[in-house]
Assembly symmetry: none
Homo-oligomer: 226 residues x 4
DNA sequence: CATGAATGAGCGTTCATTCAT
DNA sequence: TATGAATGAACGCTCATTCAT
């Protein structure tokens, strides 16, 4: 899975009851994060939400950091679950990716919470290298799924865009549009922008491949902060 | 004179010295946020960074919330400053907007800190309605600038995209790509995705206007969280 | 278990040791209040007096308010303990009530501290509705005791005063005289006033019942402040 | 007037404006005390209420203690003003004192605030010797007024009670009854108790003098706390 | 007469964590 | 497996007061 090193080792899940309790806490953590944000997710708040004693949170997960690291994986699972139910019946790359995006966008609108939590983690990860590894693992899974969808359809190489670039483009666009949605709600402009994005997506995946000779940007590579 | 109970905007900036001190603190807050993230920006940490006493932070800004509200405006100023220096010599909408984006992207790579801080605030704003208003004001200024660029060039109405949608699209793309940059650094895929985005941008701004009849998505509007 | 958010009654008294510690703190609070008054009873001061750490006070009682609410009951217990030891051997209402008052007054003079604390709480309660409820509960117990004394003796209905009014009268007189005592010490005038009060008390309880036709005061009822 | 040593020396009242400002602050202090109680009357709160800057409070009164000492006198003035308007036309001691008490009780019910403030000060004074001197000065003026009323009427020496004891009794009864009023509002029992008190008052002031031979209480004198 | 700046101390509270059963 | 007790540190904030102009 590649969830980063040191994970899931200190978690006590010997018995069924233990597993259930741990699950309860993780779920509570998720809810608290979606309601109060990263900073507001104190052990006390989480314990209250889960209906257990504060001490139990540390007991099951060792520390707050470990709990959150564990939660990141759960958020990833959530996001994946929402997407994996899409039928793979697309006949063309364009159709397959478009169906994927449609499904994804519908999910974002129906249940934005996982995304709200995700962006909270992302923002925190910008200044926290450890967390970044875990959060990027979510992004990796996300991209894997997109990539798989593109490949699963016919003639994946006939697009005008390279696959890696396309994957990034879709991922970035989804992130950007989702942020818009979370911050402003679904305005008319946003609706239209989504339509336009999909049109571009379709054209990019069906058009004849172009030469990608020009590279306008030739600066030094930028490393992640931290 | 007495600002009355509640001290609505209790920022003390009567004297030059006071103004300088307040500025010192705001700048320190900015640095701390970029290094430690939203949660790590405690009054103590900020005061240490500014070289003043913790008590003075409250004195000048009344409360941590007020300080951060004040800082949001400052971050907006920063972002705008970086962009406003772009020459407006673009002859076509495509050229003007492309120059804008180039400049913007260069800035992001040269000095990602303001963006890191911005995303920290955005993430917090997702679960904090008050903050959201302030942060969205930054986005508004950003969009105004993009809009102005589009309009300042000739034949703005000849594009295949409506202006509002275009503005959103650019804004969302920049956000999405910047997040990629902050989280992964400037990978080869990202470089290529940027090139592809610019190509799309150019084509969108030069192509003959299309009919935008189709609306594939017709779900209920989604409101911002919170 | 989880007491749920808000921790309604967060007093931890699970173990014997815990009970003892909580008791220690309550007693210390009482001493501090009697020495420093309501405002002077800070958590730090209380913790020092109890020989525990400030943090433990919050741990056992949740908040300062909760601690004081808890203390109010304790003060009530103290006051009741002092009184409940009076023999009930009074043969007439007059004798019973007089014995009660004598005992009470002796107590006030021997150990005025509970009364000093009580008046501190009363004064605070005048501007704090929550506290008023708790403090009035003490008064209720006090009156219950007086009432019980009156009834336990023979011929309670032969007095010239209605029982409720008599109870109030005794209660008010004790409060007024005690305030005098606390503020000026036992002056000669006060001694004499006490004697006079007792004489009135006796006459009121032995005299033939009068008609209580006249109501000189007919104003609008006054509600407690707050 | 005997308001205690060290009073009114540091107060800046050179100009008319200064006097007005000082007055404004004192009045604000009074209002804050009646609303928030002794502990809640911080300089900041008072300044807000007065519509001046916090610094001005210290400027005019030197310190919080000095301000409160000054306020005590003001509360006394308030209480006296309310009473001094009573006509002295009583022909007998009984009538004069009864008229006084009636007027007083009406005042308490119409405007309990001065009394609420007064009891706040009293409670604080129990544990603060300095303040006690000031507050007792109010009590002295109060008693002086009662005494004067008794004497101003005919045949003051014909009562069954000694004058000093009578003064204390009235004062204590008023305090006790007022506390009842502030804590419970004007209940039916309280109304009746007031009527009974007045009846006793009348009888005490008209009845033939008795021998006051018996002193049942012979304990050691009690000094004020502190 | 009036103000802005600054101070050290302390407030009540919450933090994540550890110890001992 | 679960819990109560305890901890040191830090939180944001307010206190009354002093200094300098």
């Amino acid at each position: 899975m590649g969830l980063g090193p040191g994970l899931e080792n200190s978690i006590k899940r010997s018995t069924d009851h233990g597993r259930r309790q741990a699950d309860l806490i993780i779920e509570a953590t998720f809810r608290v994060l979606s309601k109060e944000g990263y900073g507001g997710a104190s052990l006390q708040r989480i314990a209250d939400e889960a209906g257990v004693q504060k001490r139990m949170v540390s007991y099951y997960f060792g520390s707050r950091k470990a709990l959150l690291r564990n939660l990141v994986a759960r958020v990833g699972d959530r996001l994946m679950e929402q997407l994996s139910s899409v039928s793979e019946a697309g006949t063309s790359p364009a159709e397959a990716v478009e169906a994927l995006f449609d499904h994804l966008w519908t999910q974002v609108k129906e249940d934005p919470q996982p995304y709200a939590v995700y962006f909270g983690l992302v923002a925190e990860a910008v200044t926290d290298g450890d967390l970044r590894l875990s959060v990027n693992a979510i992004g990796d899974r996300y991209r894997d799924l997109i990539r798989h969808r593109i490949r699963s359809s016919a003639a994946p190489d006939s697009t005008s865009l390279s696959e890696p670039s396309l994957v990034i483009a879709i991922s970035a666009a989804v992130q950007g549009l989702t942020l818009e949605l979370l911050m402003r709600g679904e305005t008319e402009e946003l609706r239209q922008a989504v339509v336009d994005f999909k049109r571009w997506l379709r054209s990019a995946l069906t058009a004849a491949p172009e030469l990608e000779a020009d590279r306008e940007l030739d600066c030094d590579p930028v490393e992640p902060l931290g």
